[in-house]
Amino acid sequence: MKLRSLMLVSAAVAGLAGAAQAENVLKWGANRDIGSLDPYSYGDSFTINVLNHVYEGLVRYNEELKIEPALAESWEILDDQITWRFKLREGVTFHNGNPFTADDVVASLERVSHETSPLKGNLPAYVSSKVVDDLTVDITLNGTYPLLLNDLTNIHIFDKEWMEANDSLLPTDIGSGKEGFATYNANGTGPFIVESRQPDAKTVFVVNPDWWDTPKHNLDRIELTPVTSAATRVAALLSGEINFTNDAPVQDLPRLAAAPNVEVLEGVDLRTVMIGFPFRDTLVSGEPNPFKERSVREALYKAIDLDLIHQKVMRGKSRIAGATVAPPIPGYTEALDTLPGYDPDAAKALLAEAGVPEGLAFEFNCLSDGLVNEEQFCQAIASMWSRIGLSPKLDVAPRAVQTPKRTNGTTDVYTLGWATLPMLDAYSPLLQIFHTKEGNSGVFNWGGWSFPELDKLIDAAGSELDTPKRLAMETEALQIVKDEIIMIPLHQQPMAWAVTDAVTEMPLFPDNKPRLWFARVGSGS
């Protein structure tokens, strides 16, 4: 029954779109495809970002990136301080016509926090939830926790009946050898409906005429095409085959800006690019690990000419960073944002003093499909390190290949970009990167470090409901991170989107996420 009604809906919508084909189409050329139509089976910010057009959370970010009600209309913390009560919006329907109720919220939260869910780390404090009435839900946490709303912005709500009908109440278990229904079918409450999807080729979204909110956009259709080659993306934009890209290559910006029909939207991303060190006893090669010494880490820091990378590799578009979080992130202070100064001679002296052998070889793990110009800045840094007498072995490969090595500790030095998403708070890197690895903490602590004093501060901040107090603790923790040089911050990377003149409105967000429900295209494009 459910399945048929969904098919009817999408058939009707497809017919509509077919009839109105000359209407407002946003042709989005992205640098990669989404991994799945199931946001819970693929823990990846871009996938979640795109699927946010189809699925929505209880709360969402507005145009100023402030949290506002979405599927929940209001909320309160109950007297026990650990239970949050959400009042849900009335009259919302899923794309298949099913009404949105408290059951859906509970089923979705159970699904996302199931132990096989790759996304369970995005909801770290969650313990359980229960239906109070049709439009009221209680969520119980493991303690006082100030950032639940931030977390919930990216927890998409599924239709329980739809999941039951399609055997998708649990996240897709790839080990079972069966594909999940939600991997290539979607049914949310959001402003757009998935019309068709061909992995790596094209995913088409059409407008949801029954969206509960008043649309600011005027799009009828979004065609998402992954164009992985940067050069091809530029060519496609110049020729109008696509009219929007959320990843305009930095080196091509002058050319794009000079083109009469293209507008470049530039900004500095919240994402801080960092280099992480191993804290294990030995390197992958079996040699003793010198990076456990603070002075060695400092030497590598001083050997990097941040300004040169800023100018040449990032073409002056990045923001050199001294802190591990960007200025707009709560917890940041200017005092954190100081630089050690480029000094290769001092670096050499530090290495000699620490007794690091000349020509010490170690692996330097970078992604070929990761950060902005990652391959280039990794090569540049490798060359800077080799000039102070080290022999970094550059290992560049796609994320899917590198991630297992990073998480298993079968590599040494590595890159990491952290935008504090979706939390937009310094607590995010502190908990997920800098905390000792245990339970839901330190998931991205790939180097295996442990600073008990730091952990204590982070844990305290994690249960402090008083915001100024919490931020002070976070700042203090960030200062420890900085003093210990657990990671080297390089820069906040540039972000550049580009649109053709067919697009009249495209707000650029500092978290580098397109929110196309704010976009408008000129009619008849």
Partner: protein, 325 residues
């Protein structure tokens, strides 16, 4: 793709035109014929000169280039993206400009050609050695040995050449630790290109060996207990050298192309020891940024090398094919 260049024109089946056993004088004559034919072919002369020039500059690259492009500490980011010397912003000593890491393009091309030539040559040699040995064994002994060798060959030929090569490099690079991967990148490529191409040689030799071994002189040699490897080496092998020489030359061009293709696809040489294909792959990202020299010069060099090898191979085939004379 491996055996295509051979199927385009019927290769002379050596067995069909039995040659006298005494070869040395004949081959000398043939060589002089070849020399005549060579002098009459301006394109072949041109190709040979060009190839010699490329080979020499590649061989002596360390002596003539301003920079060792593989030495990370010699790269200076300040010198990145300098255009070629004839451009107003050009700078000595970067005749053909620099890439985005400050690597001198000319040096990178010469070192890259070196890698491309060495990999191409070595893979042909490995394939030849394996192919000739297995072909001789199969043809001479026959029976189950023959069966096994030829079946393995059938399986290899039933998969497209490029696919086998990609699989071998992909498997090898994914299963090796990073340190070894860099060291072994070139040997892996050589192997990847050689594995699917030995079959062609083996088949040619086998056909020849099967015919020869029935001949009286081989039977006689057997009777007087001349070792079988001597028979093979002295009687069978020389008879099929002509088609094998042609095939090897054409395969040399093909091997260089394959290496470039694999590196372009990202499963070949790593970016810190770039071959011509790697350079093109890297340069391709800057195609529209105005940095055309990063991609165009390596591409031109690659085409020049392969065109000249193929010209020589083409001339060789015509010159050695009795039917076309």
């Amino acid at each position: 793709m491996a055996d295509l260049s051979m199927t385009t024109e019927p290769t002379p089946v050596p067995a069909a035109t039995p040659m006298p056993a005494r070869r040395s004088r004949l081959s000398r004559m043939r060589d002089s014929d070849l020399w005549h034919s060579f002098r009459g072919h301006p394109s072949a002369i041109f190709a040979a000169c060009l190839l010699a020039l490329v080979a020499l500059t590649a061989l002596f690259a360390p002596l003539i280039t301003p920079q060792d492009p593989y030495d990370l500490s010699a790269l200076e980011l300040w010198n990145a993206e300098i255009p070629p010397i004839w451009n107003a912003d050009g700078q000595m000593p970067y005749l053909l400009g620099t890439d985005t890491q400050g690597r001198d393009i000319l040096s990178a091309i010469l070192y890259g050609s070196r890698i491309s030539l060495v990999i191409g040559f070595a893979s042909v040699m490995v394939a030849l050695a394996v192919g000739l040995t297995l072909g001789l064994i199969a043809g001479y002994f026959g029976g189950w040995i023959d069966n096994v060798i030829m079946r393995v060959g059938d399986v290899l030929l039933s998969m497209p050449f490029i696919l086998i090569a990609i699989l071998i490099t992909a498997v090898a690079t994914a299963s090796l630790p990073t340190g070894l991967k860099d060291v072994l990148a070139a040997p892996i490529l050589i192997l990847a290109i050689a594995v699917p191409s030995w079959v062609q040689y083996a088949r040619t030799v086998r056909a020849s060996a099967m015919v020869e071994r029935k001949k009286e002189y081989v039977q006689a040699a057997r009777l007087i207990r001349v070792k079988s490897w001597r028979i093979m080496l002295h009687h069978i092998l020389p008879n099929c050298l002509t088609p094998i020489l042609v095939a090897a030359t054409l395969n040399f061009g093909l091997a260089i192309l394959s290496e470039a293709t694999l590196s372009f696809l990202g499963v070949g040489m790593p970016p810190d020891q770039p071959s011509l294909g790697t350079l093109i792959r890297i340069g391709n990202q800057y195609l529209f940024s105005g940095l055309w020299w990063i991609v165009v010069f390596p591409a031109v060099q690659l085409c020049l090398i392969v065109v000249s090898v193929n010209m020589i191979g083409d001339w060789l085939r015509d010159a050695l094919n009795p039917k076309l004379r």
